[in-house]
């Protein structure tokens, strides 16, 4: 892949979590509001860019047998940085996201990109890949968060979108709404891809 393809593939062709069905936990858990979704997306993007950078830099040093463990150490260090930075600068958001911030460590997207891309590509490409996949993830999370917040609470980023007479569809902000919303979005995306002649049915 050349530089431009790398920079854009995360935005539609490999858009997580729809095209790469990885990292479902944060997608379901923190998207009760659009703001939380965006916050989580930005945190993951940061970790992705720098984990890809360090792993790409170290790709010739890390022995093949212990590579997964080494990747996990790099990722966990970055997550600790994000955790502390969020507590320092965005305290209310970090309270809202709770244990899902430390759980970025086990987000399969990050380990997946490290293994599939950063371990065999030069630094600038790896960072571009991290940025692109991270941005795609942020967009998806904000989208799911917006749908759930608008239908479930009647607001968007905290601003009221519906008149007072709107009865919020409270089911959407709870667990079943998350699964349902993601499943239907995935179905819509599959239908759209089929119409455009791309083949994308996850099994």
């Amino acid at each position: 892949m050349n530089f431009r393809q790398t920079l854009t593939h995360g935005l539609w062709r490999d858009l997580p979590p729809f095209r790469m069905v990885l990292g479902l936990c944060p997608t379901l858990a923190v998207t009760a509001t659009a703001e939380n979704g965006l916050g989580m997306g930005i945190a993951v993007t940061f970790v992705l860019i720098f984990s890809n950078m360090f792993i790409s830099l170290l790709r010739k040093v890390i022995p093949d047998k212990v590579r997964i463990a080494s990747y996990i150490v790099v990722i966990a260090t970055l997550v600790v940085i994000v955790e502390l930075a969020m507590k320092a600068f965005f305290f209310p958001l970090s309270q809202q996201l709770g244990i899902y911030i430390p759980l970025i460590v086990v987000n399969c997207i990050i380990l997946g990109r490290a293994e599939a891309f950063a371990s065999r590509n030069p630094v600038h490409l790896s960072m571009a890949d991290g940025l692109s996949v991270g941005l795609g993830f942020s967009i998806s999370l904000t989208l799911v968060g917006s749908i759930r917040e608008i239908l479930g609470v009647g607001t968007w980023f905290g601003m009221a979108v519906f008149p007072d007479s709107f009865e919020p569809f409270g089911f959407m902000v709870q667990a079943p709404g998350a699964f349902l919303c993601l499943g239907l979005l995935l179905g819509l995306m599959n239908a759209w891809s089929r119409r455009r002649g791309e083949f994308f049915i996850q099994t």
Binding site: L22, V79, A175, L180, L182, G183, L188, N190, R194, Q202
Partner: protein, 191 residues
């Protein structure tokens, strides 16, 4: 009595998978057939209980006295990864049958959010040692129950005619939503 409520609460009311969304990757990935789903469930119960014991001890006797609580993310994932490796080697040496049925799930468990999530929740809720063991075992049992039910449903889905665009993960997620709705019926049993 409190421990009993904790068991019911963590298996049904706050089911780790359907109410707290942890461990969704194996939930969607390994639930196509009943056999592997049972294997995954058992492996998670085993590893999660062990991992919680180790992480709890490390946190309370190593990190807390030194004032290093902020390192828990890094230390926990290392403890879990090392433990999974160790369990894999141990089972391979000791019992061939168990290794054949559980072995392939063990590497997957390192990146299972349920295991890490339970370890973090133990610390967040401030459990003592007994409560921690009960909570971890029953949360993991809740995961096993959910993945078992879900695999049975998916075996039926396989032979029914689903709209083409919804096939695979999409219909699986919608099904999980309906199951989660059913589990919401347990809310109110404990507080």
């Amino acid at each position: 009595m409190d421990l009993f409520l904790l068991v019911i609460g963590s298996i049904f009311v706050n089911n780790i998978l359907l109410a707290q969304y942890l461990g969704n990757c194996p939930f969607c990935g390994v639930s196509k057939k009943l056999g592997p789903a049972i294997g995954m469930g058992v492996a998670v119960i085993f590893v999660s209980t062990l991992a919680s014991i180790f992480t709890w001890i490390v946190y309370h006797y190593l990190l807390e006295p030194q004032g290093l609580e902020y390192l828990k993310t890094l230390v926990f994932i290392l403890v879990i990864a090392a433990l999974v490796q160790f369990v894999e080697i141990f089972i391979k040496k000791q019992s061939k049958g168990l290794y054949d049925s559980l072995g392939i799930f063990l590497p997957l468990i390192t990146t299972n959010c349920a295991v890490m999530g339970i370890a973090l929740l133990n610390i967040k809720h401030g459990f003592d040692f007994v409560e921690m063991i009960v909570f971890s075992a029953s949360s993991a049992a809740g995961f096993a129950l959910a993945i078992l039910l879900f695999a049975s449903v998916r075996e039926r889905l396989f032979i029914s005619s689903v709209p083409v665009a919804m096939r695979g993960t999409a219909i699986a997620l919608v099904t999980a939503g309906v199951m989660s709705l059913a589990f919401m019926g347990f809310a109110g049993m404990t507080n």
